[in-house]
Amino acid sequence: MRILLVEDEKELASSIASYLKTNEKIDCEIAATLDRAIEQCELYDFDCFLVDIGLPDGSGLDLIKKIKEKNNKAGIIIISARDSLDDRIDGLNIGADDYLVKPFHFSELNARIYSLIRRLKLDGSSRLDINEISIDPQSREVKINNIVLVLTKSEYNLLFYLITNKNHVLSKTSIAEHLAGDYVDVMDSLDFVYLHIKNLRKKMIKAGCEDYIKTIYGVGYKFEA
């Protein structure tokens, strides 16, 4: 899968690229300017674009318009420091699929790319299989060894987040933010992440699943498979 990352901040771009590259299926190219991005666009086909809006030689929105003219199948995620409603609406109106505000968790970006790619390429209908676990993202149904495992909404979200970021260490903060969104700072401790992980793990083991969720002490969790 080819991704074009359009980001003028060198350090950030290389960090995102190296995070995404840990997934061997992803091939991430970087363009630092609007011109360079347009050039890349004309030379290659990409499955997904990560576009910063504020570029040194223009607006990322113009690039999105160009991409949409050429190939409207590719997924587009805007990554911008501008959390303004107008930008968000403008971006989504001209055809972007998602909008992430900087600074974001790489694991969150990873999860969004993952969902987007599945939605676009596979129409979101096909199941996601890892060993004995099988997930249908459309109906949010989880099967273990072909037996349905009943999960609460947040347990499902947690499992999906862990799986889309498998083999990555996820910090508790990032999990908490993914689960509780705006309300994450209500909890002074992140105990609820621990509680959710504990419940999920218990349910999965009881259903005969191997324990893939590893605790990284003091930091967070990792789905190893």
């Binding site: 903060t173 990032s174 509680l195 002490y217 003091g218």
Partner: protein, 427 residues
């Protein structure tokens, strides 16, 4: 007070005062003139009386039978100069006392010294003064009426340009890209005022645009470095050859950057609300927004620490949905953060009012500081101290009334949405 009312009142007060003063002066002057006239009449009469006495034709008995003259014998040494005085005499025909002017003089005639007093009735002059006063009062009233009508007429003519400018300026929206163009006025001062207003609004609009850009730029400039720090830290987390201590350090960096980013976003949000950058509003069901928030909170509630009770009536509002989301989430967050463990937060919507209450200790600071920035409970470290300020700003933006109360161990926040409720408008 309206300009017209104010000027009318001033005119009425001033005219009454001036007329009253004028009347007093007029009264004094008139009385003076009349008195002088009477005095000179009496003097003429005096010389007439003297001539008649000299002729020896005077019959004192007859003369004294008239009311208006009184002649008595006097001692030669009692001779004196003529003097005037005011007195009253009983008038038999009218059966009452009537004011008179009296001239007293003495005269040395062939028949000896005489003391003579001449009287003149003031009845007619009093009547004259009465008439004049009555007339001037009528004059005053009609004068005021005319002036008021005239004032209104002039006001409508002269100030119409001003009123139009006022309405135009009042309805002008700084966040729009249009310039304020006021109608031309033929009056120089108003034209000057219009020009000044146009210039001023243009400058404010310019500043507003600059500020908006600055906000966006600052946000960009601060968020990007934060994103880099966060990204690098997250990358480090993935490296396998890290020991526990280093991992924990990186985790702390991540959490701190997160807090900083949140703080920055909150401050930017306040600036945006103050800049009125949330103009569009739509019809939003308060109940839906709350239910959505409560659903999002379930993940926290599931952990057993919190308890939510709610009773929601439907209430549709004309508001920017994002702002309402932010308002609700900040109110709920505040209630959850500051409630005691395992206690219940109550949420009620009734009669366009939203009440959120949570049990907890009384405020450790003054109630007035509750909505100000960075006012925090020292015992509770979560929360960044901006949430309630954001709530307050949103309420101010829509002129919504928000009140706080503490009673029987419960903190109450009551938001009265009546101003923007559509239900209210229909009624």
């Amino acid at each position: 007070m309206k300009l017209l009312t104010k000027t009318s009142l001033l005119i009425i007060t001033a005219s009454i005062f001036i007329f009253w003063l004028g009347n007093i002066v007029f009264f004094i002057v008139t009385r003076e003139v009349i008195q002088k006239q009477i005095n000179s009449d009496l003097m003429t009469q005096m010389s007439g009386v003297m001539t008649r006495i000299n002729k020896g034709a005077a019959d004192y008995e007859v003369i004294n039978s008239f009311d208006e003259i009184n002649i008595t014998d006097a001692l030669p040494e009692a001779l004196h100069r003529p003097s005037f005085r005011d007195t009253v005499l009983y008038n038999a025909s009218q059966q009452r006392y009537i004011a008179h002017r009296a001239l007293n003089f003495s005269y040395e005639s062939a028949e000896g010294a005489k003391d003579i007093t001449l009287f003149k009735s003031l009845l007619s002059s009093d009547k004259l003064i009465e008439r004049i006063t009555l007339f001037s009062v009528i004059l005053l009233i009609s004068f005021i009426l005319v002036i008021l009508i005239l004032n209104r007429y002039i006001f409508e003519n002269v100030w119409s340009g001003f009123s139009e400018s006022l309405v135009q300026t009042d309805t002008y929206n700084f966040s729009s890209s249009e310039k304020l163009i006021l109608e031309k006025s033929e009056i120089e001062e108003f034209e000057q005022l219009n020009l000044m207003l146009e210039e001023l609004t243009e400058r404010i609009q310019h500043d507003y645009r600059n500020l908006k850009e600055l906000t966006a730029n600052t946000s960009h400039e601060i968020q990007t470095p934060l994103a880099i720090i966060k990204g690098k830290a997250e990358l480090l987390l993935q490296s396998t050859n890290m020991d526990k201590e280093n991992m924990e350090a990186i985790n702390t960096i991540l959490a701190t950057v997160n807090r900083l980013a949140k703080l920055n976003q909150s401050l930017l949000l306040i600036t945006k609300i103050e800049n009125r950058q949330f103009e569009e509003s739509s019809l939003v069901q308060l109940k839906d927004v709350l239910e959505n928030s409560i659903e999002n909170l379930e993940v926290l509630i599931g952990s057993g620490k919190y308890n939510l009770n709610y009773k929601l009536e439907s209430c549709s509002l004309n508001i920017n949905k994002n702002l309402l989301d932010i308002l609700i989430s900040n109110l709920l967050k505040n209630a959850l953060i500051h409630s005691s463990k395992n206690s219940a937060v109550d949420i009620i919507i009734k009669n366009n009012k939203l009440a959120v209450s949570n049990p907890g200790e009384p405020l450790p600071f003054h109630e007035d500081k509750l909505f100000s920035r960075f006012t925090k409970n020292a015992l509770n470290t979560s929360g960044n101290g901006i949430g309630l300020e954001i709530v307050k700003k949103i309420c101010e933006f829509y002129e919504i009334d928000i009140s706080y109360d503490y009673s029987e161990g419960l903190h109450f926040f009551i938001v009265d949405f009546s101003v923007i409720s559509t239900h209210n408008n229909i009624l």
